[in-house]
Subunit: 458 residues, 2 copies
């Protein structure tokens, strides 16, 4: 490692924080139409910063929604090319009165910077801007070729990202994708994420009668769709938490012994975990640990239920309709389309003839997993060790970043998911923050990552 | 039967309709505070009308809510005393734009009078005012002693009625209660209701975690209260529609062969019934007919479900809480308090330790049933035969009129439920109406009923 670069980063810590505040001041809330100008301003701010850092050909590429910010440095012929992906849009901020300092006036308290977007994802993107800048300032170049794309619709479903990637296959050619939009397992536990779950989300609508009926006059004589819905949902999992949809587990890649060993190494404290979420007792699929259940095993969850009278008091209604939103988190090699077919077939099979059923496919995303011995994953592991002074744990995340599967599928690229967020960063909630020690170590690790990737034998 | 009285009634048909319009014009909606003045106005209108009809000692008796209208005629010493119960308040009228004529401008179309309260219950109460008047005008007396109480809170739960009855036991002493607040089995099928179901209504609240969680991060690792709720509700009834709460059926009086014969006589058309409610197929407890299921067997119904995200689209939330409103219709001799205890014990037994549960008792009412050979019931049967020219069917209703059980329990009085509403009267809905032929025949039947009751050997 070039110690000049590390020294440069270490001496510029305060400047980095001040600069980051400028970006965090822009309320680029993609979910709210009144902020569309702010969203574009955040894109322009990123573009200027990328140019300042030393990237070239920087520009905003329009999409049907918010623009993608693109920039590149291609001065290392023969070396690998990194495609860096991040996002410059942020979540809404309500309830505003729960924020201890204004969400768009970044404030440092006890080594953490508080602002909307600090952890998700501006702070983590900015880490790479500064790693690039450090290389450029000290050596006038990068050890790898570099392409950046930042999207402005990650918080609203990335609907224009897949088409953008498909339409710019040549522009985006690279060797590996780097993303810093995930978290560490815990404070002082630097982590490398090598797997993500996919998603299949559905709405089930049942209709029993044409209108709500009086439960006195008709109760007992006709099927109650709310009760039928309960009966149907109860048939989705057995008492041991195993999903009963026929064929559901057919394509699940079993956890390897090596992976299970990695899971056992995670410094997991069940009591702390349970207390943090306020659960009387944990529960999950028989035969797996909590961490395995939460990231490496597929799930079936009810996300919403609605039927009949839900106000204060009592209304003796026999509901005409009942609705459930349900979703499955998927693991390699489950395919959301195939799971959707299996689910629909099962729902139709278990729906009694007393009600009409409609299944709506809401959205889906493929699961993703890197091989633990992938050379880029290993390179990232070494970079984190240098940046944080300790070897990372290798973990899988339970959530979904569908674009990772798209990069694999459309561009044929593996991804390295190196994130420095903490579980208590409160992304999507009031008082979002980023730990500044992680931020600084992350800049060093990023700078090292580029060198490590340069050294990978392709 | 005194033919003078019948003739008088027959020659006054048009006048009755015009007079009734005056009462129906008062929007006595007890659920809406802005109508409190109208509610009182409707009570005063009834009081004047009762005085005009020939009752004495007419007055409004205040309660913590709307007043009870009281009136009496006690000029037949030695004869039985009827206690007539009805209500002068009405349901709200929204959605107003679905009314074909204004709800408080009663309009006659094709032999039916359309207005809020026409069937439930002003029209049916007015039937008795006119029967009393006919007796008085033609004979200067009634064949029985007569007491009337009309309440103004029937549509909002009658919360002050039970205390009123308990506080006025002496005033309300009588031999039999007469109520006209029910319906006929069908057009041209005059009916006498000899049974009502009771009610036990509950809310179940489950909590899995202290806040909603991300279904990616935590899905699979913790119990989902919406799913647990579905599992629990599914355990309330078996596939044959039989309720699984231990002890639930212990006090159910079996249907007698005589009763089942009466049920078989009802002119029930399953296809018509199914089409009217728009159900793909009927369903109910194995071993019973639809009419038995809807009125003479107890039920378990889900009245409402709410959990998690219920808006448009998809939100990957793992809900913290889930809620169900459930209720049971009860039949003799089930007791709502005892059923409440059995239900709570069962809920607690089947709640897994992974969630916290709270059961709230919302309200309850006792079932009621008269003996088919009760002399007052038989007297009413003869009166209906005279009024409608055909013998009534004897039926049980699936709904609840808790005050009927109170009259039995507090005053020791049997009730006669003689109603002339039709199943398509749309009570509680837009375009409520009352069939004028039933209204007129009902006045005659009421006048005859008083004579028949006078002849009952006590």
């Amino acid at each position: 490692m070039n110690t000049q670069i590390v020294d440069f980063i270490n001496t510029n810590r305060d400047r980095y924080v001040e600069e980051l505040k400028g970006w965090l001041a822009i309320p680029s809330i993609s979910a709210l139409p009144e902020h569309v100008g702010d969203v574009r301003r955040a894109a322009e701010w990123a573009a200027s910063e990328m140019t300042r850092a030393g990237l070239g050909n920087v520009r905003l590429i329009d999409t049907p929604g918010n623009p993608v910010v693109y920039g590149e440095w291609l001065g290392a012929p023969g070396a690998p090319t990194i495609l860096y992906y991040g996002h410059y849009d942020v979540q809404p901020v309500d309830p505003l009165d729960l924020w201890q300092s204004p969400p768009f006036e970044a404030t440092v308290r006890e080594g953490e910077i508080y602002a909307r977007g600090a952890s998700d994802d501006k702070g983590q993107v900015f880490m790479h801007f500064k790693a690039i800048e450090a290389h450029m300032k000290q050596t006038g170049r990068l050890p790898v070729n570099f392409k950046v794309i930042l999207e402005g619709e990650e918080e609203v479903g990335s609907r224009n990202l897949d088409p953008f990637i498909r339409a710019h296959k040549d522009l985006l050619q690279a060797d590996v994708v780097v993303i810093s939009d995930t978290g560490m397992f815990d404070r002082n536990v630097p982590s490398l994420c090598y797997g993500l779950r996919g998603l299949s989300y559905f709405q089930i609508d049942l209709r029993g009668t044409s209108t709500d009926l009086h439960s006195g006059t008709y109760g007992g004589a006709v099927a109650n769709p709310a009760f039928v819905l309960a009966q149907m949902l109860a048939q989705m999992k057995d008492r041991g938490g195993r999903i009963k949809i026929p064929g559901f587990y057919d394509d699940v890649r079993p956890l390897s012994e090596a992976e299970r060993e990695e899971f056992k190494k995670l410094p997991f404290n069940e009591k702390q975990y349970r207390k943090a979420i306020g659960a009387p007792r944990l529960f999950g699929e028989t035969g797996y640990s909590t961490m395995e259940r939460a990231s490496a095993r597929p799930t079936f969850e009810v996300n919403g239920l609605l039927s009949g009278f839900t106000g204060e008091g009592a209304k003796t209604v026999l509901p005409a309709v009942a609705m459930a939103k349900v979703s499955m988190r998927l693991v390699p090699n489950q395919d959301p389309e195939k799971i959707g077919d299996l689910f629909e077939a099962y729902v139709k099979k278990i729906t009694p003839k007393t009600v009409e059923v409609k299944v709506t496919r809401m959205h889906g995303g493929k699961p993703w997993m890197a091989s633990l011995d992938n050379p880029y994953v290993q390179a990232a592991g070494r970079a984190i060790q240098t940046g944080f002074g300790q070897a990372p744990v290798f973990m899988r995340e339970g959530g979904s970043i569908p674009v990772v599967a798209t990069f694999q599928e459309v561009l044929g690229l593996p991804s390295v998911l190196f994130g420095v967020g903490l579980p208590d960063d409160r992304i999507h909630a009031p008082n979002e923050k980023l730990d500044l020690a992680n931020f600084h170590n992350g800049i060093i690790a990023s700078a090292v990552l580029y060198e490590e990737i340069a050294a990978v034998q392709r």
